[in-house]
């Protein structure tokens, strides 16, 4: 029986269930294509953490870290570079992609298409997280097969740490993209911010808890994220670094609010 209620064809819902989900699936597919077909993006995002891990892993040899219960240095580097990989995909790459697309007018064009905003941005973020996931798998595989590092003892804690970090750094990437008016500046600005904070966070050399550097970097989310990813690998301590995860999540929520407030679709150069 056909409904007697006349519906206005011009009134549209914001969500059409399956057909909208299929639309998002298609967008994620094209986002992935666009990422992997961009040689520079793919090489920098995936290649950088990998090359660093291999170089540092090779030079670390059998060094051990006294301040972390005398574990092998490479056992510290693998979780560190997993964190680096996630941040590189979600923060740096996403920020650069968003600035470029905004300034090229691509965001504006998509905004004016019938694709709902949530589907448009949702697929960009989902695709970013997918790249981060690939990154994590590659780094773990190289750590395990190349350097004989043992995998996280608590998989659940590891996955939670990576997901919380992935979401938070995605939000941070979106937030910083709103502060960069010019696509030429996008790469340098995000990379400088990122690498300085990475250095201070003790990615290259483990830093002592309670030291001045540790106190300084404990303000930023990067060190907390590294600590949270490291915890499930560390047999001598609890796999759940709740305190650090909470700080990463707070940064994520704040960045999310900031990005929503500042986000713009049109290029900055058009006023």
């Amino acid at each position: 029986m056909i409904s007697m209620q006349m519906t206005d064809p011009t009134e549209t819902r914001r969500f059409y269930g399956l057909s909208d989900l299929r639309l998002v699936g298609q967008q994620i597919y094209y986002e992935q294509l666009s990422f992997w077909l961009n040689p520079i993006g793919a090489v920098f995002t995936i290649g950088f953490p990998l090359v660093f891990l291999i170089l540092l892993g090779a030079s670390a040899g059998s060094s051990r870290v006294k301040i972390l219960g005398n574990i092998k240095l490479i056992q510290y580097y693998v979780p560190g570079f997993v964190a680096f990989g996630v941040m590189s995909a979600c923060f740096t790459t996403l920020a650069i992609v968003l600035v470029n697309r905004r300034e090229e007018g691509l965001l504006k064009r998509l905004r004016l298409s019938p694709l709902p905003t949530w589907a448009l941005l949702g697929s960009v973020f989902a695709s970013t997280l997918l790249v981060a996931f690939v990154q994590v798998i590659v780094l773990l595989a190289v750590g395990r097969l190349g350097f004989g590092v043992h995998l996280p003892t608590n998989i659940g804690a590891f996955v939670v740490a990576v997901v919380v970090g992935g979401l938070s750094f995605t939000a941070l990437g979106a937030a910083i993209s709103t502060l960069i008016p010019n696509p030429d500046a996008a790469g340098p600005v995000t990379n400088v911010v990122f690498f300085v904070l990475l250095f201070l966070a003790g990615l290259w050399f483990p830093i002592k808890a309670g030291s001045g550097l540790a106190q300084f970097s404990s303000f930023f989310p990067i060190r907390h994220f590294i600590v949270a990813v490291f915890a499930p690998f560390n047999p001598g301590a609890s796999p759940w670094a709740w305190h650090d995860l909470l700080i990463v999540a707070i940064w994520g929520v704040a960045a999310c609010a900031f990005a929503v407030w500042r986000f713009r679709w049109a290029p900055y150069r058009n006023k």
């Binding site: 064809p9 914001r14 094209y30 004016l112």
Partner: protein, 316 residues
């Protein structure tokens, strides 16, 4: 699918300011379904702001706007409206690393009843580039792809913001043909352009904007009194004839030709050619030129002069 039987676009007393700057100050016009309508004006005249308000990209400060019968600001009908509109922006906005076919297929997926991708490739002359990456295309080819993305959803209403900027002459002609074809199919086209010949060749009606206001509107061949205004007659003096011998008063122009400006060119030409026939002399290089759309446009959009007169007053 239309919500109403009225105009495709209706704008009444539209206003939009950025801070203290009135980008659009009291603009009203209507676009009929199936019409090719042009907004003409210099940079900063308010064209893009007006179009962005119609597209639902920008909100307005005041005025009534209906696009295909709905308010573009109404979020409840926005998704429907966007499925009925095609938009070509000023900047080239195409994903650089995907192929032409991938870009078109992706966009086709947004619309309920898209044009087949191969048809669009053919219409835009990009069939042999279907597999090429967007970044390897020439500027003109990218622009054609951009226009192709605007029409893939079979839009009821197409916004074209300077669609031929950056195209070579043959690319421009091809785009004109396409716009005529779409107009013939009943698509309403709202066009902005800097090119007078483009507006003259395509638009049924034109509105000239300057400083956020409409300074003239009408058909391209009547706007600003083009059909009734002054005509310029020019020729070279025949051998052995001086300007004083002419039956009508003329001014020597800079290049040595004689120039006569008149609102009654038929009578002046009759006198002049009758005189020449009687004297058995020619009028070498004789031309009659009515003001071009470009002349009218430049006059209409001139900045307010030192006496502080508005643009409309300057025209009187």
């Amino acid at each position: 699918m239309r919500k109403n039987a009225g105009p495709a676009v209706s704008v009444k007393n539209l206003r939009k300011s950025y801070g203290s700057l009135a980008a659009v100050a009291d603009v009203s016009f209507e676009v009929e379904p199936g019409e090719v309508f042009a907004l003409l004006g210099p940079n900063g005249a308010g064209k893009t702001t007006t179009i962005e308000i119609l597209e639902g990209f920008r909100s307005r400060d005041a005025g009534v706007v209906e696009v295909l019968g709905v308010d573009p600001d109404n979020r409840r009908t926005q998704r429907w409206l966007r499925s009925q509109m095609g938009i070509v922006l000023q900047e080239l906005a195409v994903e650089p690393f995907l192929s032409v076919r991938q870009v078109l297929t992706r966009s086709a997926g947004f619309y309920p009843d898209p044009r087949p991708v191969d048809e669009v490739l053919g219409m835009m002359g990009l069939a042999d580039k279907a597999g090429a990456r967007v970044k390897t295309l020439s500027g003109g080819q990218q622009r054609r792809l951009d226009v192709g993305l605007g029409i893939i959803g079979q839009p009821e209403l197409l916004f074209l913001d300077e669609p031929t900027t950056g195209l070579d002459p043959s690319g421009r002609r091809a785009t004109w043909e396409l716009i005529r074809q779409l107009g013939g199919e009943g698509t309403t086209v709202l066009l902005t352009s800097h090119y007078m010949d483009e507006v003259e060749a395509l638009a049924g009606r034109v509105v000239v904007l300057a400083g956020g206001q409409i300074v003239a509107s009408g058909t391209p061949d009547s706007i600003g009194g083009r059909d009734t205004g002054v005509a310029t007659i020019r020729f070279r003096l025949p051998d052995g004839v001086s300007a004083a011998d002419l039956p009508v008063a003329g001014q020597p122009a800079q290049d040595g030709e004689i120039e006569i400006r008149t609102e009654d060119e038929v009578a002046v030409l009759h006198t002049l050619t009758g005189w020449a026939l009687g004297r058995h002399v020619g009028l070498p290089g004789l031309t009659v030129r009515r003001v071009t759309l470009e002349d009218v446009y430049l006059q209409l959009t001139r900045d307010p002069d030192e006496t502080g007169r508005t643009r409309q007053e300057q025209l009187r």
